[in-house]
Amino acid sequence: MIIGLDVGGTHTDIVLVGENGLERKIKVPTNTSALFETVLTGIEKITHNIPPEKISHAVLSTTLTTNAIVQNKLSPAGMIVSAGPGIDPSYFRTDDHYYTVSGSIDHSGREIAPINNAEIEEIGRRLESQKIRHIGVVGKFSPRNPGHELQIEKILAPHFDKIFLGHRISGHLNFPRRIATTYLNASVYPIHKNFFEAVKSSLHQKGLTIPIYILKADGGTMHFDASIDYPGQSVLSGPSASVMGSVAFAPDDCETLVMDVGGTTTDMAVLINQVPLLSPSGIEIGNYKTLIRALHSYSIGIGGDSVVRVEDNTLKVGPERVGPAMAYGGPVPTPTDALFVLGKTHDPAGDRSKSVQGITPIAKQLGMSVEDAAFEIFDLACQDILTAARKMIERINRKPVYTIKEVLTGYQLQPRHVMVLGGPAAHFAEHMEQISEFTVRTVPQWPVANAIGTALSRTTCEVTLFADTQKGIAIAPGESFSQAVKSNFNRKDALEMGYGLLREKALQNGASMEDLDLDVLEDLEFNMVRGFRLTGKNIRIKLQIKPGLIRHYKTITDKIAVMPTCETGV
């Protein structure tokens, strides 16, 4: 059996899944100031009276690193940045301990200016005296040539606890994002490490010596030991938990929109034949644009607790939330109050008369009955969510492409199916189907779908390989890999090499042999011509284990609900 645990803002959901499907599910309140207690209590409760040997592993999705970033509780990290010519790197300053140093590498990985060792040593001494323990080192074009980052690491390694190097964090070219990502990794490292080591040892003491996996923002998992070098990948795993929880119940023969209607926001994502769409660059969180792999998700400020008001005789829902619905003692009317008024929600914990009281002035302003006004509110919330969904699809379809083939084949996303989860999911699903071109369903077991998704997600990772046969090298800096190649080395050889590296990395990150679903993200080969003569080939390969569920999942989810298909009607 597998434990899946997803920490949310108010509740933490924990499930135990196994041969009988959903074996157990519980919800415990999240105590943000004592997340450790929350997680431990959850695991204790879900495993109560279950022999430890029956549990294979646990997958955890927490808000630990996300909250640290959003609440600006990051531990200081020293950043050493070598840029050379181009945009002034001081624009990308992270915190007070940000140093731009000499050294320059060009787009082809050639050294243009060297690193000044004395300069690095001096900065090292200063950072040490300021009690900085964690360092990030980023060079422009380091994924083409990591030499400078490695040289700086060598100088600083004896004096610091942990050094994060840009080229190991991501193989994508985007210097400002690489700086932000490396900084976030370095600055969440201590809390991540301390937290999960504490979880692990507490579980050990209770006799539960199972492997612990962390859910990542790309909907994949990673073994805790491997996550020590990439703690930033745990940021914003929450939205991906819900998406992964929908995967098993989405049709495998068409495109599906997943909508998680929460209190403050509705989060949306796209599944193509059960495979979640990845974001083209990476997570944006707070002021940080990063290279952290993530599912393509979009969030709008409309949820069950959004503020409802009338402005210039027009009804408005959201985008802000000031408190819970009035039915639950909140200060302003919300879509949830509309559901109370319409008699769709019967929660005994809520007070319908408060909802009526809240919506009455809105009804007056609109010149209609309270029930009609409640319906208008509910309808508008659904309409706004659908409009945002259509806009998201349009944006995805507008993404620039760089080859004639892509322009002409012009693959366009056209989802017809929507899956909804979250508090008011059932009511929203019904109405959204009525007013739109989509078929709309709720995700089975949606109140804990996020935890189910967390439990069943497979281990993912990515490898970038770059070969230049003119120079006679193939490098995958993220994997600390470099090898001499002959002049006849080609794309097929590079793919073979990349697959090998990817397999190795996936297994190291905790993947099981049966879940190595290899996938090509980029596969380009260029003739290099110098002085009108063919001098070599420039080959770029990006491979991934794509996000999805572990092979074993079907025996589990088939017990929960049957997967629909677009052919037979969802």
Partner: protein, 438 residues
């Protein structure tokens, strides 16, 4: 946080799957390192820099400008439709005020493509800027347009298309035609009798550097623009004046290109040539994009850049100053020159031979234009190419007067299909394009 002062749109279409031939300068690899530089600098993440997806032009867009023989699909590959489509997409975004300025980094280029197209010349088949401009004139309230061509090669195609158009100002700065393809672009080439002066050619000596280019911009281009008062300024942004370009002999730099852009402030730039794919393009494009967006570009510098080594000689400076003075005096005398060219003639004729170097054949043209005081004048081109096609092309200009339009229609109707393989009528007054076949 970086924020663009001017909202700047980019089309980046490197056509990673298109080449003229595997080792041709115009090949898949051309924009590869530029894309690396643009991505690595994080340009597309900057607030106010927006990347657009290139659309395709339609046949109709091409037919506003060109006479393609035998037809459009015979002389255009898909890449040409997308390259011109990229320029059109960015122009749309500017006109709809989604962006203040736009830059279409597209390939293949287009400024050597003339009005009649029998094939490829100078790596160009159709003229991206001209197609874009005539599209804008038909879709928006755009009349007067200025094109500043800063490619190292004379923009003879663009010059040909707008030769008789008094509403299009074309200024080309290029390496002296006596030393470089296509061998034209001398100050005497000033446009046809109704439009003389709206074509201005500034040949520059080999080894001209930053100060020479910027001198022309400050002393000639900006004053002329001030007087011409265009609705739009277009930059045919070739990047082969760079000191590392393998096909040319100039000493321009990334800083120079960025400075030129900051002075010129084009509404729309369209990439033309530039074949130093590693040493120049990544830096030149970075500089241009930052300058367009109003961002600091002072730290953009090529690895091999050395100001003192690149600096032009005093002698070159003197030559450029003299050229500028004479071009400027031509501009100032344009009314007089037009009068002299018109004389008492009813029609004016030109005979030309045009080389298609990419495919290696010649085209022979006899052009006749009606001398007119009311409009730009209707024209017909009798064109024979070594490929075997003999065509008659009638162009009725956008603002043609009644008499010119009637003349054009008469030419079209009267032409004998036993003499010509194809007879075309491009009527810009009602935006139609008609073909008669033998």
């Amino acid at each position: 946080m970086l924020k663009a002062k001017h909202k700047t749109g980019l089309i980046f279409f490197p056509a990673f799957d298109w080449a003229i031939s595997p080792t041709h300068p115009e090949r898949e690899e051309r924009m590869l390192y530029t894309q690396d530089q643009v991505f690595e600098e994080g340009l597309l993440d900057i607030d106010g820099i927006i990347e657009y997806k290139a659309g395709l032009v339609e046949i109709k867009d091409v037919q506003r400008v060109h006479f393609c023989a035998p037809d459009e699909h015979s002389v255009m590959t898909q890449s040409h439709f997308i390259s011109a489509g990229g320029a059109k997409t960015i122009a749309d975004a500017v006109m709809r005020k989604k962006i203040d300025r736009g830059f279409a980094l597209v390939r293949p280029p287009g400024h050597h493509a003339m009005r009649v197209v029998h094939g490829g010349r100078g790596f160009c088949n159709v003229n991206n800027e001209a197609i874009m401009i005539e599209y804008l004139r038909s879709a928006y309230n755009v009349d007067r347009v200025a094109i500043i061509d800063t490619d190292c090669h004379h923009g003879d195609g663009t010059q040909d298309i707008f030769w008789h158009d008094p509403d299009t100002l074309f200024i080309s700065l290029h390496q002296d035609g006596r030393t470089l393809y296509p061998g034209s672009g001398f100050p005497e080439e000033m446009g046809g009798p109704m439009a003389a002066g709206t074509i201005l050619n500034v040949p520059l000596p080999p080894y001209t550097s930053e100060e020479g280019f910027l001198h022309v911009i400050r002393e000639l281009v900006l004053p002329v623009l001030d007087e011409f008062k265009p609705d739009l300024i277009i930059n045919s942004a070739g990047q082969d004046n760079h000191f590392t370009d393998p096909l040319t002999n100039m000493n321009f730099s990334a800083q120079g290109y960025a400075n030129l852009n900051a002075l010129l402030k084009p509404d729309i730039s369209v990439l033309e040539g530039g074949y130093s794919i590693e040493g120049a393009l990544p830096y030149v494009n970075l500089g241009i994009i930052l300058a367009m967006a109003g961002l600091d570009y002072s730290n953009v510098r090529e690895p091999e850049y050395d100001f003192s080594k690149l600096r032009q000689s005093e002698q070159i400076s003197r030559v450029i100053e003299r050229t500028c003075d004479s071009v400027l005096s031509n501009w100032n005398a344009r009314e007089l020159i037009r009068m002299r060219m018109k004389g008492n003639k009813k029609f004016d004729k030109r005979r030309r031979s045009i080389m298609y170097d990419t495919e290696g054949f010649y085209e022979h043209q006899n052009e006749t234009i009606r001398i007119c005081d009311e409009c730009g004048g209707v024209l017909q081109i009798d064109s024979t190419a070594d490929t075997g096609n003999h065509i008659l092309a009638v162009h009725i200009p956008r603002k043609a007067c009644h008499a010119c339009r009637e003349q054009g229609l008469e030419w079209f109707d009267a032409a004998n299909t036993s003499k010509y393989d194809l007879i075309f009528c491009q009527d810009r007054t009602d935006d139609t394009y008609r073909v008669r076949k033998a």
